[in-house]
């Protein structure tokens, strides 16, 4: 009894006061983190205010960015942001979704299991574990893609992607130059190399979230599709993808948010020139690249204009991300209903 009463006893006054203080403190910190986010928007907005008053909405439609004449228009950067993000997203979705299906439908395991069985090795526990091992390896490798810093992708893009695509791009321009997408030659940096690298960078986001959505398709739906005699791809296209559609759309929108805000790859590969063009090979600019390239040497007037551009970028990414998160939450709720 004595031992027990030594260990468990009512808290002393000091402990109760300390508890109150610590709880108050943690509440303060929680409120502080919310205030930080509010302050981020406020502080950018405050420095941007003069520019917003001076340029107003013409900032969004103007096409020249000339600090010497104090003329600032962000339309080419806004258009470039959208264009490069959509292109990158198309590539990233195509390959990301393929990887998600490849991993969630266990193509690799079933193929390898067949191979191992036909070689007569299926008795040994070592060979039986190989398919899972390779699949895990593949998944980890693609996750590693997400961990590589974007500046390294930019460096790789300059010295690998641009030299590789220059010849085919200029061939396309030479033979199909009348087509708006191929309207200019590729002299070096341009929209296409930037979009290719962007696609590689959003791919892990899209494949990871889509894979989760596909794996979450309830087994009974899966089995029902096969039980009705569907081939694997009839089941994938007709049943699994529609069931997981909300999650996949959420993944694509979050990938879009990532592409919109990606800076380094675009600052290094897009060419930093305020051109409005449909051509894939034309140099371009994006809001994030504009900030990265102009901020370090900007004077007071230009800083204001850049802050305005930052506010526009913040608004666009915020809307896209909130929509993406909202859709993913709906996807979760829908699947709960199916189970």
């Amino acid at each position: 009894m004595e031992v027990a009463s030594d260990i468990s006893r009512p808290p002393s006054t000091v402990e109760i006061v300390g508890d109150r203080l610590f709880r108050r403190f943690s509440l303060t910190v929680a409120v502080f983190t919310v205030l930080v986010v509010v302050y981020v928007v406020f502080s950018i907005g405050k420095v941007a205010m003069p520019a917003i008053h001076t340029y107003g909405l013409s900032f969004l439609t103007g096409t020249t960015w000339d600090p010497n004449r104090a003329k600032f228009g962000a339309l080419p950067a806004i258009a470039g942001t959208m264009y490069s993000s959509v292109l990158g997203l198309i590539g990233g979705t195509l390959f990301g979704l393929a990887i998600a299906i490849f991993l969630s439908e266990r193509f690799l395991s079933s193929g390898l299991e067949g191979l191992i069985k036909s070689l007569g090795l299926d008795g040994s526990s070592f060979w039986a574990a190989v398919p899972d091992w390779i699949e895990n390896f593949l998944r980890t490798t693609i996750e590693l893609l997400a961990a590589i810093p974007s500046v390294v992708f930019g460096l790789w893009g300059i010295f690998v992607v641009i030299p590789i695509i220059r010849a085919p791009a200029n061939w396309l321009h030479g033979h199909l130059g009348w087509f708006p997408l191929f309207g200019t030659p590729l002299s070096g940096p341009g929209l296409l190399p930037a979009s290719i690298v962007l696609a590689i960078m959003v791919l892990p986001t899209i494949s990871a979230i889509s894979r989760d959505a596909l794996v979450a398709v309830p087994p009974k739906i899966r089995e029902a599709a096969f039980g009705m005699g569907a081939t694997q791809w009839e089941a994938i296209l007709g049943v699994f993808l529609p069931t997981a559609a909300t999650g996949i759309v959420g993944a694509i929108i979050l990938g879009f948010g990532r592409a919109l805000g990606e800076t380094m790859a675009l600052a290094m590969l897009a060419g930093n020139s305020n051109v409005l063009s449909w051509s894939l090979f034309s140099p371009a600019n994006t809001l994030a690249a504009l900030l990265a390239n102009h901020f370090p040497e900007a004077g007071t007037a230009e800083v204001g204009a850049l802050m305005y551009a930052a506010l526009v970028l913040l608004g666009i990414t915020l809307i896209v991300n909130v929509i993406g998160t909202f859709i993913l939450q709906r996807a979760d709720a829908q699947l709960k209903g199916l189970r």
Binding site: P10, V40, V160
Partner: protein, 313 residues
Amino acid sequence: MEPDKSGLSRSTVGDVDLIQLERSLRQPRVLFSYVMSVLTGAATIAALVPLISVLYMLIVRGCAALGLSTFAQLPPAAMTTGGGFGNAIIGTVVIVVIATVLSVPLGIIAAVYTAEFGPDTQITQMVQFAAKVLTGLPSILAGVFAFAVVVLVTGGFSAPAGGVALALLMLPTVFLTAEDAIKRVPSRMREAAIGMGSTPTQVVLKVLLPTATPGILTGVMLAIARAAGETAPLLFTALFSEFWISRTWPAFLPKTVGDLMKPTPSLAVLIYNFSGSPFENQIQLAWTAALVLVVIVLITNVAGQSLARRYNR
């Protein structure tokens, strides 16, 4: 039974056409499925090509100039040989340490509140929403924020300005993983502590946080791995410098506040600056720096993830 066009015999059971169940490549729908599977496999392999290419280039070009001098010397002028980026490694460490000191306590204590003290309050919902907003915040905007509140206020580019920018990017990762780790502590441990007369604070400090430490550490490691590779927020906050942060041994670490409050070099910005250089020796150094940076980031990342795996078991 009469043979149809494909040469298969036709048989029906009730309304079901049994040929529909035949798995032969002569059937368009089976062929389609097969072709799609092959295409998907091809796309997956194609997606691995860039990764392999990046790693190949990093190793081949990065190792070409890797040596002791790369860690001990300053960045070279154009057209010279040798040189390194010792100052940039130290600068990266200093900036990341500042960011960690700022973001980790904040993230963990906010997580304690949302996971334990007020899980259903409106404040918790607001904090969780704020964390989601920060997760999607483009990294360059963290730099813009730090520029507005630190660079414009203190009047110069500095390591703390870079640290504030990176801290803003680390905060959501630290907070979300810490919140998850605290929530995963079994409630019987919590109840046992309460039953022995612990105050809620004692439950948090003596039971929840020690138990959740591996999970929290994973989040911290992942956040550090991401922050170390970030370039955009440092471009106009920490800027760059060709010199050591401090000239005095040991370790050339900053000794005074004055050492900190000046432009600070980092590996990521060095790669960016030298990637556009027309001089071969600086481009070479950019590749070597990229190799070092990727090794640091991947080791931190893999260490964090293996910690998480052991913890989840």
